[in-house]
Amino acid sequence: MKHNFYKITQMKIFWPLVALAVLLLLNLFLLPGFFSIQIKDGHLFGSVIDILNRVMPLLIISLGMTMVIAKEGIDISVGSVLAISGALAAAMMEHTSVWVALLAAVGVGIICGLWNGVLVSVFEIQPMVATLILLTVGRGIAQLITGGQILSIDNSVYQYLGSGFLLGLPFPIFIGAAIFLIMMYLKKRTAMGLFLESIGNNMTASKFAGIQPKKMIILVYTICGVCAAIAGIIVSANVSSADANNAGLWIELDAILAVVIGGTSMRGGRYFLGGTIVGAFFIQTLSTTIYSVGINPQIVMVVKAIVVILVCLFQSQEFRKLFLKFTKKKVSFS
């Protein structure tokens, strides 16, 4: 029994889940009515639903990021790609049908991903530097598309993607779930998982085993780009406008954090999609909690930082050992 418990605590997803549970418990006491869900016009409303809805852009990007990080890479351009995709969709809808606009938005995600992938794999530029290019240039491109203005979107089909309801639930949840399922399929029912983890752990040995790392690298960056583009559609559809400057600002950092909290190592190798989901939920719940508890907005970032530091520390086995030692000593002294 004890052994089993130990085994569970060793699972990568254990500590992120504990952190999320603690946070939710805190909410239960601090915010009465946090877990209450109301039905209005056949739609579900409540804090939990709100978090589920709001987390989706971050969650989708984090899933893409997980695969990039699994191969020992990083993509810091996702926020810019998100802005480009939203801007392009908004701009195109003024002239063409919503479907063409959607295709173009996803298409631009593919192009951005390919660009990053080729820079990293063919030209062997370090991932941080390679994606930094698009991070800086990307917002400029988005501004060119919007002409420096916030474009408003007035298309009910498009708006539905960000703020519509299906079966009583916000529609973005279904998009996120679909992407998660596709990625799980890629990991568990194709050799993608094996190849990625192999490349992320030992690139040379993977080459010797016949894996084509360059193709895999381009593939994961492309997937990540598409994820960012889809997130861009959801964000712009949700607020019915495309803001080249502020849409998805700093989201790359939250996404990387979600991946790391979820147990995937920045050194590459094993990756955990379920963990990433928990990580993304944790970050979103934390933001929502901080705001709704009424903490002074000026210190919100500090509170967030402290919590994140704590979570990361508890993920480290060394820290847990130290912590246990320390607490044990204290007990024995008293």
Binding site: A191, M192, N202, F208, G210, R270
Partner: protein, 506 residues
């Protein structure tokens, strides 16, 4: 005589999940002796060293250094007590100077700043007085040969603590002269009264340098012997636990039938800076050896053949079909497989399980979207774990928990699972124990008799002569000759490598 005992281990036991790595092992090291720890891979040598130096915690037993009980908790702690270890892979910083490497972390200081003059001076003194080597200590480490780097590691170790020195396979990457140099240093240190634990797989070296041998097998101590009093065959049979028969000189290769059908051939295949253009043919079911010293182009040719490195000239023909633009994937699709020389870097994928490491080759052959279902994966892994006698509690174990010999078998399993037509084996028996060596050699012969072509690279000529049907001899990245079974002998190959007497080809 008890005063002469420097280090004593009593009743050491250590278990890992599923494996009893050491059980009740005794070991004693005397002052001024070189003592070898011998055993197959997985016998417990490394574990004993790791427990002794505080890398792992022991379950039972105790260590005594000069009669006082010690229990080091980390390698640094062990070093403070007087036990230092030099590992096979040199743990130094290649981009720092020799002196910096010797004094890193304990630099002599003057007024809070590093006293460079003093440091270089002392480094020079240590190297020249204790190890009898005179080199410029201000040059960066990577400008010296592996042997010198090893010496620097030893210098650092003996300067920190001069009681016990553990050398874990220090010779595996050294050439003959370098080994000689190392042995001189070891003899010198021994005469100063140090106790040296020496681990090596080379029997010649063991007999040349050691005074005593402790043999381990499956985590148990078999016994302690005076080197002069134990014969090679006794030693080997004690290590592998069976009588060492005459099958080391396999003549059974003659039982295989000659097949004339050519599988792979190359004309003028080469790559600038790696291997000069050469011709070669390999028939079905033939074992072709590539003999030559390290750096002679043997590994380079294998890499060109497998498409890891692109050939920049020449023609490669497989099954009468000309192949352009070879890549590892294309090679695998054509039935090639390659067990690389550097197992840790080019072979195993650490993070992955044994099962995943085994199916990796077959999965790449099938492609990204033709996923091998889990139960098929398990069947394949189980089949090869049994076939190759891979010692592991279960197939989901991480591969880096296995011993070197077993890791090598996993890589072999990876390629056998792809049903290869050509198996390129680059030093498949290097750094692994005698028992696994014999098993792998036998496997090679079996595979060839099933019609698989084998390109065999080994530094051990005896092994080549025993296994190969034909040998291509390489020197300085050039093919200098070819010997068939009737002409082949160790001395003949050695002569060709050494003097480069070209052999007339008809």
């Amino acid at each position: 005589m008890s005063s002469a005992i420097l280090l004593r281990a009593e009743g050491i036991s250590k278990s890992f999940p599923g494996v009893k790595a050491l059980s009740n092992v005794n070991f004693s090291l005397r002052r001024g002796e070189i003592h070898s720890l011998m055993g197959e891979n997985g016998a417990g040598k490394s574990t004993l060293i790791k427990v002794l130096t505080g890398v792992h915690e022991k379950d039972e037993g105790s260590f005594y250094l000069e009669g006082k009980p010690i229990s080091p908790v980390s390698p640094q702690d062990a070093q403070r007590l007087g036990i230092s270890t030099v590992y096979q892979e040199i743990n130094l910083c290649e981009n720092l100077s020799v002196a910096e490497n010797i004094f890193i972390g304990r630099e002599p200081k003057k007024r809070g700043r590093i006293d460079w003059k003093e440091m270089n001076c002392r480094a020079e003194r240590i190297l020249s007085e204790r190890l009898k080597i005179n080199i410029d200590v201000t040059k960066i480490l990577s400008s010296y040969s592996t042997a010198i780097q090893q010496m620097v590691a030893i210098a650092r170790a003996v300067d920190i603590s001069s009681g016990v020195l553990i050398l874990d396979e220090p010779t595996s990457s050294l050439d003959k002269n370098e080994v000689k140099q190392l042995f001189e240093v070891m003899t010198k240190l021994k005469s100063e009264g140090m106790g040296i634990v020496f681990i090596s797989h080379f029997l010649d070296q063991i007999y040349e340098i050691t005074d005593r041998i402790t043999i381990l097998r499956n985590g148990e101590q078999i016994g302690e012997y005076v080197t002069k009093e134990i014969s090679r065959s006794q030693l080997v049979s004690k290590m592998i636990g069976r009588e060492w028969g005459k099958d080391s000189n396999q003549e059974n290769k003659n039982t295989r039938k000659e097949v004339q059908q050519v599988f792979v051939s190359a004309q003028n295949l080469g790559r600038r800076g790696m291997i000069s253009p050469l011709d070669f043919t390999l028939r079905k079911g033939e074992i072709l050896g590539l003999a030559g010293l390290l750096g002679s182009g043997r590994t380079e040719f294998a890499k060109v053949l497998f498409g890891i490195e692109k050939a920049d000239q020449g023609v490669l023909t497989i099954d009468h079909q000309q192949i352009r633009n070879m890549t590892p994937k294309a090679a695998i699709d054509k039935g090639f497989s390659f067990c690389p020389e550097d197992r840790k870097v080019e072979g195993i994928v650490n993070d992955l399980s044994i099962r995943e490491n085994i199916i990796l080759g077959l999965q790449t052959k099938r492609g990204l979207f033709k996923y091998i279902p889990m139960n098929e994966q398990r069947e394949i892994a189980q089949k090869y774990i049994e076939l190759l006698n891979i010692k592991t509690p279960n197939m989901e174990e991480r591969i880096d928990n296995l011993s070197g010999g077993n890791q090598q078998k996993v890589i072999l399993a990876r390629w056998l699972a792809t049903a290869p037509k050509l198996l390129i084996l680059d030093e498949p028996t290097r750094g692994i124990d005698v028992g696994s060596k014999a098993e792998i050699r036998k496997l090679i012969l079996d595979l060839a008799s099933q019609g698989i072509s084998i390109l065999f690279i080994s530094a051990e000529l005896e092994e080549m002569v025993a296994c190969c049907d034909r040998v291509i001899v390489l020197r300085d990245r050039k093919k200098i000759g070819e010997l068939d079974r009737t002409e082949m002998s160790e001395s003949r190959i050695m002569d060709m490598i050494a003097e480069g007497v070209p052999v007339d080809e008809t």
